[in-house]
């Protein structure tokens, strides 16, 4: 990882605070908020990465990951929700293979 990709302390603290407090709020909230919070955390991380990542990674951040609505919930349309998440995961997987080189390490 290049040094330009390291989060600043402020950014890392923001993400850390989100993750810790989300663990607590999840105890009282609907189970379907679990994936929602994870995706929000991913979105905040993506915000920090934008502008520092490689062009290909920036394409991933701006494309398939941004396509997921901020406040989407599984219960509204479970099949569509799963399909959208699968599409995002496929895009992430493809990018990982392109970035790291599939089967070569």
């Amino acid at each position: 990882m290049e040094s330009t990709m390291v989060l600043t302390e402020d950014e890392a603290l923001e993400l850390l605070a989100f993750l810790v407090t989300a663990a607590r709020t999840q105890l009282d909230e609907a189970a379907e908020y679990g994936p929602l919070r994870l995706l929000t955390a991913a979105g905040r991380l993506a915000d920090f990465m934008t502008g520092r990542a490689s062009p290909a990674t920036q394409q991933l951040l701006a494309g398939p990951l941004r396509a997921l609505p901020d406040a989407a919930l599984r219960s509204v349309d479970p099949a569509k929700y799963s399909a959208e998440l699968d599409a995002a995961c496929q895009a992430v997987g493809k990018h990982l293979v392109d970035h790291f080189g599939g089967g070569t390490r």
Binding site: T21, E29, T40, P69, A72, S75
Partner: protein, 177 residues
Amino acid sequence: MSNAVLEAIRTRRMVRALTDAPVPREQVEQILEAARWAPSAGNRRLHRFVAILDPGTLRLLRMVSPGMFQRPRAVIAICIDGQRARSFGMSPTARGLYVDVGTAAQTMLLAAHSIGLGAGVVTSFSRAAVSVVLNLPAGFSPEMFICLGFPAARQPPAIRPRTPVTWQSLSHWERFP
């Protein structure tokens, strides 16, 4: 015949995308003044409102509020004053206290809408962390944020209900068979 109150109720939305423009303190005061008139069980007034305009504090609140999608320019925290509730012989977790959080919140949402502000509620936050960030007195419990700002031109899609909602689908007449 037009009815301004009903029209405000019908057109209010949860606003999640806000501009960077600051919210004038006078407008926040208008919303707090409206909340002063919200129904309160027994007129006991067991709630306290904390208005936050400072960008630094707003940033910290967002960090400990997983449900805060928006970047508000002002927040009003609705708190239950547990010690005051006890002084009336009530448990600080009595249901009625939460009902009054709701009446205050809806009053504020409508007031904000009526003066051109966008508003949204957030309840997904760490009460423990928020209490520290706001230095709340002992016994105060933060229960809801009213997030305020000027609405951005583009809003994220609304959360759609599983089935279409009408007043008939939510209501029954008289008693159940």
